[in-house]
């Protein structure tokens, strides 16, 4: 599982402003990746760089292990497909929209028509084929825009805020569609969103973007598994985690690292999740220390420098890990 993109010392400026600062970042692993960050964090700019529509400024960017140069950008651009935020649909039918993109690549009409029908069918929107683009709902338009790009068979599909301006039903629909894309043959899917819950519904590979800097996902402790709603226990296979009583269903949990308590001895407290483990590593993260603990699977805890000094944490040392059931989010 290698990442398609490798950034090294990439800095992108818009005028005087530094919009992206990526000293070292690998992106585009197989499957789905979410880029999470507030508006203005540089998500759109990053996606344009990933789509090779924008030069990557200074620094080194590699795509499929080849350096991205101005001469190669057009060729690489055909391997990456970007669906813009609030995509523009051409003033023609849905079929016409998908056909147009294929026509730009020089496909014959017959070939383009076959590919169009196939793509619309795979995405479950064949019924929209003859509808005029102007008559579509927001969710339908988003799907058509995805079909239009997907028909070009990119290795990596980039979606800029695909869920913005959609109602809850359309969001559920689109989540299901995006989740199915890796199985439909798209090697890597990257999407941006300001909503970390939506990101978590689709993937555990999350990259946080704040002020143009990429960071570790805000919720790195992801575990897939099965919920026992009667016992209020989430079973990951290796861990049995107490979850809040009101949770009825879900297949993935995230444990907020800031709410994970580390101690040298077993704590007698109201915290229902208590595990014994071993410290694997310590790393500085945003002014605090990210402690990776092995409790069967790996779990990360975010502690202050003061707490670190008081606990005398060191790699290899034994440790107790505790967190309340309401520090667990279920998706």
């Amino acid at each position: 599982m290698t990442a398609l993109y490798r950034f090294q010392g990439v800095r992108v400026q818009r005028g005087e402003r530094l919009v992206l600062d990526l000293p070292a970042l690998d992106l585009g692993a197989d499957g789905i990746t979410a880029l999470v960050g507030p508006n203005g964090a540089g998500k759109s700019t990053l996606l344009e760089v990933l789509a090779f529509l924008l030069p990557h400024g200074t620094g080194d960017l590699r795509f499929a292990e080849m350096p991205v140069t101005p001469a190669l950008r057009a060729a690489f651009g055909r391997r990456a497909g970007l669906v813009a935020q609030r995509p523009y649909l051409f003033d023609r039918t849905v079929r016409g929209n998908v056909m147009l993109g294929l026509g730009l690549r020089g496909l014959t009409t017959a070939l383009a028509a076959a590919r169009t029908d196939d793509t619309l069918a795979r995405l479950g929107i064949a019924a929209l084929a003859e509808r005029h683009a102007g008559s579509l709902s927001g969710g339908e338009a988003q799907k058509v825009a995805i079909a239009r790009t997907l028909a070009l068979e990119p290795e990596v599909l980039l979606l800029d805020e695909p869920f913005s301006h959609l109602d809850a039903g359309a969001i559920d629909d689109l989540v299901a569609l995006i989740a199915s894309l890796p199985d439909l043959g798209t090697r890597a899917v990257l999407f941006s969103t300001h909503d970390s819950d939506l990101a978590a519904r689709l993937t555990s590979t999350i990259v946080n973007l704040v002020d143009g800097c990429a960071g570790l996902g805000a919720l790195p402790n992801f575990f897939d598994g099965r919920l026992d709603a009667g016992e209020h226990i989430f079973d990951t296979g290796r861990l049995r985690v107490h979850v809040p009583d009101h949770v009825q269903r879900g297949t993935r949990i995230a444990i907020d690292p800031a709410h994970v308590v580390l101690s040298q001895t077993r704590l007698e407290s109201s915290m229902r999740n208590v595990f014994q483990g071993r410290v694997l590593s310590l790393a500085e993260h945003g002014g605090e220390v990210l402690v990776t603990v092995d409790i069967g699977p790996r779990l990360q805890a975010l502690v202050t420098h003061d707490a670190l000094a008081a606990q005398a944490l060191r790699p290899g040392g034994g440790i107790w890990v505790s967190f309340k059931s309401n520090a667990v989010r279920v998706y």
Binding site: L53, A84, Y88, D91, L100
Partner: protein
Amino acid sequence: MSFFAESLRTGLGLIVGLDADLRQIVATSLFTSLTAVLLASLVAIPAGVLTALAGFRGKALLKHALNALMAVPTVVVGLVLYGLLSRRGVFGDYGLLFTPLAMIIGQTVLITPLIWNLVLTAVENRDPRLAFTCRALGANRRQQAMIVVHEARHALVAATILGFGRAIGEVGVAMMLGGNIEHHTRTMTTAIALETSKGAFALALALGVVLVVIALAVNLALSLLQGVRR
């Protein structure tokens, strides 16, 4: 019966009876204006698209000039061209004055800035997401221009229709360059303006009715186009 009602009745009779004079006048008008629209569109649509897509020095000046030209009274266009086409003018040797061709040239000059300006504005005001989407789909500059033209097609047709409306309804150019010569350069507007005073009020009124019907048809076509856009 009043003079007006009597004349209207006679006039409608001319229309229903497809009066030969009336037919010829309407045909001259349509031929002149349609040819002018065709020629003007051939120049103004490509020019409008190109000047909208390209960034160049003097673009603001061009837009000001087009706006100003749209507002020039038709008689002034007629006057200037009269000076050029008359016997003593630069193009006097061609003997074009008081021919249908002179009217065509005049109307073409009159409506070219109008169509150019409308096309330029329509293409410039296209959705900013369009260009980005084209690039994201991998369109080169030529393909982008083709897509933009296709997206703006309703606006292009609308500009042409408005140009036709202005050409068919104007008097100044047709009068000064055509001269209202019977069976030759007599158009609906010049006939209405001049025949009335010669007592042919019923014919003028019939022509007025035809002109109003054409104006209504033009407006209907425009609103149908706007309906398609929605």
